[in-house]
């Protein structure tokens, strides 16, 4: 028996992102939205999904969301913790990661990510944190999921700087490159789900979240975004998913505001 449930756009995004993960996947998790989604997946439909954080924590099961990529909770609930060089060499570059789950500041139509800066490199308008693990997560993981909120400043036609490869400036950035993952296979925002076009790799809306219009997506996107011929409606969050997510966030807030 299901009843209509209130949920926010950001909850819709997190739940949809979580649903992209399945048991059997080994997921290299970025901090923030990806971490929230990945742990929601683990606490709901994918209890066996393996979560890896770049701090070296293998197969971790945090009870609260980490604030940093290296919170103690990640280590204490991990199967084991390895050094950071080992993490990047053996586990990521060694091909043991099936999905890299990333956030970003900017993304463009070929799913290239910019977390370096807005403006010109030598005279930045806004200096962002930088690449972190993303450049190699995006190329050495089997595939990449990306999650971020929709806005014209975030979804731009061409990123100011390609920190992390999607499909390059022309959509052909992975063609002929040996030993490279499939790259971004889905982008989940608070408005919709996008996938790269199988032909030219341009991001295309494949599913609108309930109540969201094409116009809303277009307004929040910095280029003329395409919509799939068979546009779907994203399934709504279940009561269980929302309950688990809200409890997780409440636990997290309690943990982080106390000392």
């Amino acid at each position: 028996m299901s009843t209509a449930i209130d949920y926010s756009a950001s909850e819709m995004m997190t739940v949809t992102a979580a649903r992209a993960l399945e048991n059997g996947m080994t997921c290299f998790v970025g901090i923030g939205l990806p971490s929230e989604a990945a742990n929601l997946a683990r606490l709901t439909h994918a209890p066996e999904v393996v979560l890896i954080y770049e701090s070296g924590t293998l197969q971790t099961r945090p009870d609260v969301l980490p604030l940093s990529i290296g919170d103690g909770e990640l280590c204490e609930s991990a199967l084991t913790t390895v050094s950071v060089p080992e993490m990047f060499r053996y586990w990521l570059q060694g091909g043991k990661v099936s999905v890299g789950f990333l956030g970003t500041a900017q993304i463009d139509r070929y799913a290239n990510l910019n977390t370096t800066l807005i403006g010109d490199y030598t005279a930045p308008k806004v200096r962002l944190p930088g690449g972190g693990g993303a450049p190699e997560i995006a190329t050495n993981a089997g595939e990449v999921f990306i999650t971020l909120k929709h806005s014209p400043r975030a979804f731009v036609r061409d990123v100011d700087f390609i920190t992390t490869l999607g499909f390059g400036r022309d959509g052909k950035g992975r063609d002929g490159v040996p030993n490279i993952g499939k790259g971004p296979t889905r982008v989940i925002s608070d408005l919709c789900v996008m996938k790269p076009d199988p032909e030219d790799r341009e991001l295309t809306v494949v599913s609108l979240h309930p109540g969201v219009t094409r116009e809303q997506v277009q307004e929040a996107t910095g280029w003329d975004i395409r919509f799939a011929a068979e546009l779907e409606t994203t399934p709504v969050p279940s009561a269980h998913e929302l309950e688990v997510l809200r409890e997780l966030k409440a636990r997290t807030d309690r943990a982080h505001s106390g000392q």
Partner: protein, 273 residues
């Protein structure tokens, strides 16, 4: 062979103006007490290496100790920007700071290569990234067996590395436990290494494959209780997440920052009192 020194003395002896310094600790065990001592001793023109600059480098940069930062992710984890780093890069306050940026994978491999005594690290990295356009220290080589194009970066070999750890025994052997980051690599890659510890014990009391750094690979051990706060020490105290959030407001404002440095570092003879 490690000498057990005061933190003041260890920094005085091994951290010189103009040095290349790596203070490591991947979120965990960040050597804040040692960083504060460097600020207190007014070191200048340092080249700082660190994967995740964090608040410790934000403080050093804002305090005017730094000429250049080599890093791969410069943010306040889970909170936002490092405002002092941004102010220095974007506006040149207190003076211009040069940056050289890598990816985590490259930095991790560069620390590994430094520990391994090699001049370069080779990785499958930077494919399609524009970082090689702005960092001339990223090159590419061809595998002589497969022809594959691979990235190469210079290894990290600091003049001094500083890390924090849980404990040392009286011979200066150090146990690092939990999220061990690139700490062992930082120590082994450096010409000189200072390790601050929570305590000195008779026996490390550990297991056969623990991450133990022998005393003969370290120059100075200094006791710094709670020496990684607001970062944490697995088994000793948790991360002060609240301070990380509060830092955002302190660091946004030059005056608030300067006041914080004065009140918490300059006008205290030593940390944590």
């Amino acid at each position: 062979m490690a000498e057990i020194l005061s933190l003041d003395e260890a920094v005085r002896r091994y951290v010189h103006d103009g040095a290349t310094v790596a203070m490591e600790g991947f979120t965990h065990l960040i050597p804040f007490a040692a960083g504060h001592e460097v600020i207190r001793q007014r070191r200048r023109d340092l080249t700082l290496i660190r994967m995740t600059p964090d608040l410790i480098y934000d403080q050093l940069i804002g305090a005017g100790c730094v000429k250049k930062v080599i890093f791969s992710w410069g943010g306040n984890p889970g909170v936002g920007s490092l405002h002092r780093l941004r102010d220095a890069v974007e506006k040149g306050w207190p003076h211009k700071v040069e940056i050289l940026e890598h990816s985590h994978a490259a930095m991790a491999c560069a620390f590994e290569a430094g520990a391994a005594g090699l001049p370069l690290a080779v990785l499958r990295g930077y494919v399609g990234s524009e970082l090689p356009n702005v960092n001339d220290q990223i090159k590419f080589i061809e595998c002589p067996f497969t022809g594959e194009r691979l990235a190469a970066v210079p290894s990290v070999r600091p003049d001094v590395s500083i890390v924090h750890a849980q404990k040392a025994d009286r011979a200066g052997n150090v146990l690092v436990e939990g999220i061990i980051g690139v700490q062992k690599e930082a120590v082994l890659a450096a010409s000189r290494a200072i390790v601050t510890v929570e305590e000195i014990v008779d026996d490390l009391d550990t297991h056969p494959n623990a991450c133990v750094i022998p005393g003969w690979a370290i120059d100075a051990i200094a006791v710094a209780e709670k020496g990684s706060l607001p970062s944490y020490a697995h088994g000793y105290y948790p991360r002060d997440n609240r301070f990380y959030k509060e830092w955002d407001a302190i660091a946004r404002d030059r005056d608030a920052f300067t006041r914080w440095i004065d009140d918490n570092i300059m006008n205290t003879a030593e940390d944590a009192r």
